[in-house]
């Protein structure tokens, strides 16, 4: 139950939840303590679906692909159908995962050991090949977006040499940008600013249609897809080092590739929700394999789980499939049980909670901005998190506007450390001989098949068959090209810097960023040329804003002024701390932007501050502090904990 509450609040994720529970584990007997730990891990990828679907905020890396179709469904007013489908899929995924694991765990050890660093690098490439289906109208643009993601993901310490790249001497960038913030910045931030501008409920017209039962039926209609994705989730989750971050994208890509009618993906196809959701719960089960058998956690949540096991005195290792086999089965099946309970209770909550999408956005927006900032801050608990959020948010707005596939960008970002790390290892171990390893060739073959599947149909009738990730290109082609060209030139400048800075590194640290920067830059230059001299209807030409700007409506305000509300909250927070910052922000927003009366303003502001303060004080969650707290000791509810 606690796991559910924690998971539903974006940014808290599994790690915070487990940390909170840790002190209570003492004094429990081993089995119930383990069950508690497992329960927390299990329900997090279930309950963070709420925010992914309803608000377009990916609560953890496990639910990023869900946003892609879940949020459009909510915008169509079908939130409860999407949620019901997601939870039923989670439930099935969890159970299927447990069944696979039960059969698989005995032979897992030797199987996992056949995956060397070369094979793991190839798996990262397989993940990257999913960009093919997520590129939208222009494949070149999709690949470039992915390249940009890879470059952004290589900021920080080089995996092999520990050299720092593109950090500008900022401490914050030593470990690279946090995934949560990139996810929120790219997806939630642009949607929120967009909705602020339109000022309408998330569900168009405030109408809720599509019922709950329909969602459950969707699962049965697509049972084979769910089953396949659960299998993918378990197996990929079981490979140590790749972790769960790519599972949902691979499942999503798989769903798109194997579907005959692809027109609705990205616009609210229920299969786009089913696939990642059935995979991500199965993945947690798969993630148990390396954690239990090798003591190597596949994800952050698993790392904490392992830490909890150590505190309980249970030793992960080969003994888990011999002398402690009963304990292993207990863990696997309590995971399945927790999934059933978690997904079941979410299923009942789906209907009432989906009403949120009918609320006028001006009332919901301050809460969402608050929640998003809060979630971003939990990434590393530094003020820089909030600044990074705004920066990446603006990038997200630009990518969306100019039709650069944000999913492709995110896949690049997520896979950058794995791809680079395993590439470095593989080169040191095998050099070119890696391509003679059978495992490498098999995965290469799968990648080729996957690319073939996704390119099938591309080029014949682009408009109907490819996935319109960022809207249909035909509607956004414009003769006013200046903004696009400026953006592209900005990118090229950034890439030149990346290229130049990678030249300062040792050969091993340089290999990856240099290659990616060079490749991406040539693609960008190619686009620049086609944009300049090519016809207006070439797929590189894309600007969602040109129509809006030509008939601009002064009451709506530009994207910039709406995004400014984020900056306002963050600036006040920097001065007086988060709680007081939220108070001032709410009052300001509700009076100036939403034009509410004082009663409503005060009621909502008080509600917000109570919510945030009780999180801080009862769940011991850290909040951003401002300059003020360095000079004055603030009282209990507002001060530092």
């Amino acid at each position: 139950m606690l796991g559910l509450a924690v998971g539903a609040f974006p940014g808290l994720g599994g790690i915070a939840g487990l940390s909170i529970m840790m002190p209570f584990l003492y004094g429990m007997d081993t089995v119930s303590a383990l069950a508690t730990l497992v329960g927390l891990v299990a329900v997090i990828p279930t309950s963070d679906t709420f925010t992914s679907v309803l608000m377009g905020i990916p609560g953890s890396s496990a639910s990023q692909a869900t946003v892609l179709d879940g949020f459009p469904l909510a915008q169509k007013g079908e939130a409860s159908r999407a949620l019901a489908a997601a939870f039923s899929a989670s439930l099935i995924g969890g159970i299927v995962g447990a069944i696979i694991l039960t059969l698989f765990i005995q032979i897992a050890r030797p199987l996992i050991l056949t995956f060397g660093s070369a094979e793991l690098f190839m798996l990262a490439l397989l993940g990257l090949s999913m960009v093919g289906v997520l590129s939208g109208g222009s494949l070149i643009k999709g690949i470039s977006a992915c390249g940009l993601g890879l470059i952004l993901g290589s900021i920080g310490a080089a995996p092999a040499t520990g050299e720092f790249r593109m950090t500008f001497g900022i401490d914050y960038l030593y470990d690279g940008l946090p995934l949560v913030i990139v996810g929120i910045g790219l997806f939630a931030f642009p949607e929120i600013t967009e909705l602020l501008r339109k000022n309408r409920p998330i569900a168009a017209g405030g109408l809720l249609k599509g019922n709950w039962f329909e969602g459950v039926r969707d699962v049965f209609r697509n049972w084979f897809l769910c089953l396949r994705c659960a299998g993918i989730g378990t197996l990929i989750g079981a490979i140590p080092g790749l972790g769960g971050s790519v599972v949902d994208w691979i499942a999503y890509g798989h769903a798109v590739q194997t579907s005959k009618d692809k027109t609705q993906f990205g616009k609210g196809d229920i299969r786009g929700v089913l696939a990642p959701e059935s995979a991500n719960n199965a993945k947690e089960g798969g993630g148990l394999v390396p954690t239990l058998l090798f003591g190597i956690p596949g994800s952050g949540a698993m790392a904490v789980f392992l830490g909890g096991m150590v505190l309980l005195g249970i030793e992960a290792g080969p003994a888990m499939v011999s002398t402690n086999l009963d304990l292993t089965y207990t863990i696997i099946w309590s995971l399945a049980l927790a999934n059933v309970i978690g997904a079941g209770s979410c299923l009942f909550l789906a209907r009432p909670i989906s009403r949120l999408t009918a609320i006028p956005f001006n009332l919901l927006a301050p809460f969402m901005i608050m929640v998003v900032s809060f979630a971003a801050f939990q990434a590393t608990r530094q003020f820089m998190d909030l600044i990074a959020l705004v920066g990446l948010g603006m990038l997200g707005v630009a990518l969306k506007r100019f039709g650069w596939s944000r999913p492709a960008f995110l896949i690049g970002f997520v896979l950058a450390p794995q791809a680079e790390g395993y590439l470095n290892l593989a080169v040191q171990f095998y050099s070119w001989n890696m391509f003679t390893r059978p495992g490498v060739l098999i995965i290469l073959g799968i990648t080729a098949i996957s690319v073939w599947f996704s390119s099938r149909g591309r080029g014949r009738n682009t408009e109907n068959i490819t996935l319109p990730v960022e809207g249909l290109s035909g509607t956004a082609q414009t003769s006013v090209k200046t903004p696009q060209i400026l953006f592209l030139m900005g990118l090229i400048t950034t890439l030149s810097y990346a290229l130049w800075s990678s030249l300062q590194l040792s050969p091993l640290g340089q290999m990856f960023p240099f290659g990616i920067a060079l490749g991406t830059m040539s693609l960008c230059l190619y686009q620049l040329v086609t944009l300049k001299i090519g016809p207006t209807d070439n797929p590189a030409n894309f600007d969602l804003e040109h129509q809006v700007e030509s008939k601009s409506d002064p009451t709506r305000g530009s994207i910039l002024s709406n995004a400014g509300w984020f900056a306002v909250l963050i600036a006040i927070t920097g001065l007086v701390g988060f709680q007081l910052g939220v108070l001032f922000f709410f009052i300001g927003f509700l009076k100036l932007k939403a034009r509410q009366n004082w009663r409503m303003t005060i009621a909502l502001s008080v509600a917000a501050i109570l919510l945030i303060s009780s999180l801080a004080n009862f769940l011991i969650v850290e909040l951003p502090t401002g300059l003020l707290s360095q000079y004055v000791d603030l009282p209990w509810l507002l001060g530092r904990i």
Binding site: P23, A160, Y174, I296, G307, V310, E315, G421, Q428, F429
Partner: protein, 326 residues
Amino acid sequence: MIPFKEGGGSDTWGRFNATFFSRYLPGQPTVIVRNVPGGNSIAGSNRFAARARPNGLSVLGTSASTQFPYLLQDPRVNYEYRDWQVLMASGAGGVAYVSSDLGVANVAELGSVIDKQLLYGSQGPTSLDLVPVLGFKLLGLNVRPIFGMSGRGAGRLAFERGEVNIDYQTTTAYLRNVVPLIDQGNAVPLFSWGALNDSGELIRDPTFPDLPHFAEAYEILHGEKPSGLGWESWFSFFTAGFPAMKLLVAPKETPIEIVQAYQHAVTAMKQDPEYITRKPAALGTYEQVTGPAAQRLYELATDVPQQARNWIRQWLRDQFQVNIEV
């Protein structure tokens, strides 16, 4: 404050001790473990150095990864161990082992593979792995480190996959995951790094009384006791990395009563039956010490002779082209 991620060795160490500090510090305060990861613990330690007040309400748990960049004078380090004082210290040990494919049964037989290139999975040249990498070199082994392992666990996995054939693990991980490999006949233990006795000399690790320590291994292979700058530098960094691996520190100006309260809490928790039963599995067999014993380790861990420092920096530059700018 723990300057590492949730779930790692330092985090586990912090959370284990936090439970008992809650119990034995005066007034049974709630002790919260706050993880501030970044830059392999440099970011969090810098932050502690800049912000912590000498009131005993916030203390920092550092590890060998925090001590090494400080000792090597990494320019990113803004913390100074001389501005802190130690409340508690604890150590760890480690055992080196090789793949049984090499056909070596013990250290003495290593001579037969001295010309063969061995592979070792390392986290990076300036990490704690510099102790084993330099150690192998001093023994005269031809070991090529493969950089980029994400942790010691990843190194062990590479060993199990057969990608590397020489490795070491810290005591707990060794007992848990390597001993089964030895029992199956896949791995052969060589030597332990050793431990320090009360007068600071290297002795056999009490957990592994049957294995030679590093200096003994050296003697077996070279026929003489280790000496010279290389050996002295290795010994300094070994001490900072293993016998004094984890340090709990507070700002130096912290009043003596508060420091004593912590020292009493450490002494008291070691009597707690729950501590006694849970500690071996959670933290391993090494004692956590406080007071003068901790002070002695603290000095060994945070102060190396300038000569040793220079020697190591030069070695890193020559061997791995690692330049630590000043």
